[in-house]
């Protein structure tokens, strides 16, 4: 399960990288989300890609706030049936 989660997290991180405007930003699960400069449109596209890739529906609360990239990634992964609960 842990390796499944790792694969899902890696995939979601790659989606984030493909959407953000500044491709020079390096980040991992521990990076503060503010440092990635992900805007609302980027978030919409990342959510969409995760939904398409994993055939799921993501329903994040409107007021969701994340401190780190990992918080965001784990919140998305929680909607993926194949992912174990972290």
């Amino acid at each position: 399960m842990a390796s499944d989660n790792e694969q899902i997290y890696t995939k979601i991180l790659s989606f984030i990288h493909s959407e953000i405007q500044d491709k020079s930003v390096e980040f991992d699960m521990d990076t503060p989300i503010a440092a990635v400069k992900i805007d609302s449109i980027d978030v919409i596209h990342v959510v969409f890609k995760v939904e398409e890739e994993f055939e799921t529906t993501i329903d994040l609360p409107q007021d969701s706030k994340f401190d780190t990239v990992g918080d965001f990634v784990r919140a998305l992964a929680a909607f993926i049936p194949a992912a174990g609960q972290a």
Binding site: E19, Q21, I41, I44, H45, F48, E51, E52
Partner: protein, 418 residues
């Protein structure tokens, strides 16, 4: 009081007859035909291959924009929010902005208006959304809603040019661009703006849209033959054209040369049928354009007609012109480029304005292509033989839309005064 005439100082084009002004003008003035059988257009029709065979259209010709690669103009991140009609409009606007010299020295942001006419708005994105939902069992792409907004093109152009003044879309079917252009004139005359980026854009090669036109039985199964005996209807085009309009004071103050002068125009409504025009509305639009511009009928040396190629439009338009110009109609050349580039819907009035400017600059009027023989119901000189030297100082351009919405624009050479 500001001068009622305004200056056209920039223009841009995305069309089936070329992806810039020079290519478009050369094609139009040479009388080239760009309505082609669909199989010649092949995959460029922008339709999924599986739909090509299943289209089941009665008509087999059209004039889509070929060779327009959006990835050459927009980053993927931007493209994800732009319908094809917005892409066309933004690229045409960049050309116009550059020709006006504003890419180097932009005007005051608060004094720029952007008005783009569109009949279809983001029709293609709607069609692709349905395709994903119903045929592929997927979700529509996340930016479908902003992509379908009629004002999407105007917002994109405002972002690229930094326009902070009045920015919106006009929609009046096939008069959408002409309304946008005349709205720009009114903005400048009223003092609400110094510079107006105006024009029209429509993308038409979505399979559902083509099927819908087929159901209306207005598109010819032959080829578009405006004002000719034997005409059977229109052919579908698409594209965009945009213009920079400026007050005379603004253009002169910065030493910008005018391409032509937009003297004014007339806007009328038939208050009538949704698809059957009323010639009286056309007559009133022509009269209104002459009155607004201050041009007398004797000064009009050419008319760029709406000329769709349908039985009723061409008959009523020809008779409206004869009613306004009387016996002088015999010596008044009138042609339409819709048999060259098809009917580009909400963009048609803008593409035709580019053609009208080319006629003022070159003195050459484009021919009405595919003309077989005169129709007594269309008593005008439709320039059937080929391009003709007409040297007009002033011309009119008609846009007469479904729903009985009529616009006539009046323009002159850059060196002509009231």
């Amino acid at each position: 009081m500001a001068s009622p005439w305004v200056e056209i100082t920039g223009r841009g084009v995305v069309s089936c007859a070329g992806l810039d002004v020079a290519a478009f003008q050369n094609a139009i003035l040479a009388g080239e035909g760009h309505i082609k059988p669909f199989d010649e257009n092949g995959r460029e029709l922008n339709l999924p291959p599986e739909f090509m065979a299943g289209l089941k259209l009665r008509f087999t010709r059209g004039a889509p924009v070929i060779g327009f690669d959006p990835t050459q103009h927009f980053e993927p991140r931007v493209l994800a929010g732009l319908d094809r009609f917005s892409q066309f409009a933004a690229v045409a606007a960049r050309q116009a902005w550059k020709e006006a010299g504003f890419d180097v020295a932009p005007p005051v942001a608060d004094r720029i208006a952007v008005i783009v006419g569109t009949a279809n708005a983001g029709n293609e994105s709607v069609g692709q959304g349905w395709q994903r939902i119903l045929l592929e069992g997927r979700k529509p792409v996340p930016l479908t809603i902003p992509m379908t907004m009629a004002s999407g093109a105007s917002s994109r152009i405002a972002r690229e040019t930094g326009a902070h003044g009045p920015v919106f879309a006009t929609s009046s079917a096939c008069a959408s661009a002409a309304h946008a252009i005349l709205m720009g004139v009114m903005m400048l005359r009223s003092g609400l703006a110094d510079v107006a980026l105006v024009g029209g854009s429509d993308a038409c090669y979505d399979f559902g849209y083509l099927r819908a036109w087929d159901a209306l039985r207005v598109v010819t199964t032959d080829i578009c033959r405006p004002f000719s005996k034997g005409r059977l209807g229109m052919s579908i085009g698409e594209g965009a054209a945009m213009f920079v309009l400026e007050t005379t004071d603004h253009a002169r103050a910065r030493g910008a040369p005018a391409l032509a002068r937009l003297a004014g125009g007339g806007m009328t409504s038939d208050a009538g049928d949704l698809t059957t025009p009323d010639g009286r509305g056309m007559v009133r639009a022509l009269h209104a354009a002459l009155r607004d511009s201050g041009l007398t009928p004797e000064r009009i040396g050419y008319i760029n007609a709406h000329g769709t190629g349908t039985q009723i439009n061409d008959r009523l338009e020809a008779q409206a012109i004869r009613e306004v110009f009387g016996a002088a109609t015999d010596k008044l050349p009138v042609s339409t480029i819709k048999s060259s580039i098809g009917h580009a819907m909400g963009a048609s009035g803008a593409l035709e304005l580019v053609a009208a400017i080319a006629t003022l600059e070159s003195g050459i009027a484009p021919p009405t292509l595919n003309y077989l023989e005169p129709d007594p119901d269309c008593p005008i000189d439709a320039i059937p033989e080929g391009p003709r030297k007409v040297n007009p100082e002033a011309v009119l351009s008609n846009s007469f839309a479904f729903g009985g919405l009529n616009v006539t624009l009046a323009l002159t050479r850059a060196d002509v005064n009231l």
